[in-house]
């Protein structure tokens, strides 16, 4: 992956350099037809730059995708921590409900002859 990335980067840099060189020659050329031909050449080079750029964008997007798995895991950890707090809350509430039932039972027992 690193080699493929490096080759693509080298290819990209070569194309960008070629584009710059043709453009530098074009602006110094006085012949209109030659200027047009050079501009078409620049467009062709740019099209190749686009194709390599698309590959580089894919590689960067893959790196992003790999990082996302751990962000998802962090979200799960946060949800677990939150559910522990909620469990404690529901445990206390259950105790309260239980005590209410006991209260009722005691009140009932007091009324018995």
């Amino acid at each position: 992956m690193a080699d493929a990335n490096s080759s693509l980067t080298d290819l990209y840099n070569t194309l960008v350099k070629a584009h710059d060189q043709v453009n530098a020659q074009r602006v110094q050329t006085d012949d209109d037809d030659l200027r047009d031909a050079m501009l078409t050449e620049m467009m062709e080079i740019t099209h190749r730059i686009d194709l390599v750029q698309a590959q580089l964008f894919t590689q960067e997007s893959d790196a992003i995708d790999n990082g996302v798995a751990k962000v998802d895991a962090a979200k799960t950890d946060l949800d677990t921590a939150l559910s522990k707090v909620n469990s404690l809350k529901s445990f206390v509430n259950s105790c309260t409900a239980f005590l209410k039932v006991v209260d009722t039972a005691i009140d009932l027992a007091k009324k018995l002859p």
Binding site: N13, L39, D50, E60, D77, L78, V92, L99
Partner: protein
């Protein structure tokens, strides 16, 4: 009884004081409001990335059309989509994951979580008191214990949040810096900024060549032009110069938008790093800086849209 109340209140008050002191005296902590602010900034950057990618694909497609009409054969690679939907979907997934993470972080740090628990404890203590008058020494004590329980939960939530944020931070750095790398920089290195700038060089080259050719053709046809002929010619050339200026402004606005987006992505990485360290001061500074950048990016994008053909054409160059 009063002796018991006195002795029981000391540890409760001490514990409360220590916890409050810790929150106030700069122990690492994450403020829920800052999590929300970070989440909102991420949402804004997400929308800006979407609109930026659309604009880049439109630019490339228009130029591909101009090139392909000169050819004899038409192939799919002549009209390739540079930023493929499958790749953009990975960015969407990443932004969505960060959004969910922020929501969970905000839920864990929600102050009402501790308050609800305090109320549950107070409810339980009240029931216990009803059951047996001697079970708890004093309502003040039971309320104080409930408060401490709430604060302990808050402290535990803070500790959990910091631990998770800290372990997630390396991945957050990978996500945001990879995004910034894909955008690229202004130094002719690989990235969208360089690619886009080459398209604008070509577009401006078309105008530049047209201007050059018109000059040659005019003086070939009129070796000694009259004043009127010269005026008509210069008016035509002026129109080309105006179109050239418009292209320059569009280029500058789009490149500045991309540069600003890159800065915002790096700002998000920096903000999360401060959040994971529990440094409220750093996070506040980074988020303020980030907000300024985001406002600037939005203004630039609006300017870029206004400069597009068919839109109202402002006469001045966008300010940087």
């Amino acid at each position: 009884m009063s002796k018991f109340i006195f002795s029981a209140r000391i540890p409760v008050n001490l514990c409360t004081s220590l916890l409050m002191l810790c929150f106030a005296a700069g122990c690492p902590s994450i403020q829920p409001a800052r999590v929300t602010q970070f989440q909102q900034s991420t949402d804004t950057v997400h929308v800006q990335a979407q609109t930026t990618f659309r604009a880049i694909n439109d630019l490339v497609t228009e130029d591909e059309l101009d090139l392909v009409v000169k050819k004899k054969d038409l192939t799919e690679s002549d009209v390739a989509v540079m930023l493929a939907p499958t790749e953009i979907a990975k960015w969407e997934k990443a932004f969505s994951a960060v959004d969910s993470y922020c929501k969970s972080l905000a839920a864990l740090l929600d102050p009402s979580l501790a308050t609800d628990l305090e109320q549950s404890f107070v409810g339980a203590a009240t029931e216990l008191k009803t059951l047996d008058k001697n079970a708890l020494p004093d309502p003040i004590i039971s309320t104080a214990f409930a408060e401490v329980a709430g604060m302990l939960i808050e402290a535990k939530a803070q500790a959990d949040a910091l631990k998770v944020a800290s372990s997630a931070d390396p991945s957050m750095q990978v996500v945001f810096t990879s995004m910034a790398n894909a955008i690229g920089s202004n130094d002719n290195k690989p990235g969208l900024i360089t690619t886009v700038s080459k398209h604008w060089t070509n577009r401006m080259g078309v105008k530049d060549d047209e201007f050059h050719r018109n000059f040659d053709d005019f003086y070939k046809a009129h070796p000694t032009p009259s004043k009127d002929e010269k005026t008509t010619f210069e008016a035509a050339q002026r129109q080309i110069v105006l179109e050239y200026i418009q292209l320059r402004d569009q280029r500058d606005a789009q490149l500045l938008t991309l540069t600003s987006l890159r800065k915002s992505l790096l700002g998000l990485a920096e903000a999360h790093s401060a959040l994971a360290r529990g440094s409220a001061a750093d996070l506040s500074t980074v988020l303020t800086k980030l907000q300024t950048e985001l406002d600037g990016t939005k203004a630039l994008y609006d300017q870029f849209k206004a400069l597009k053909p068919g839109a109202a054409k402002p006469a001045t160059k966008p300010s940087t």
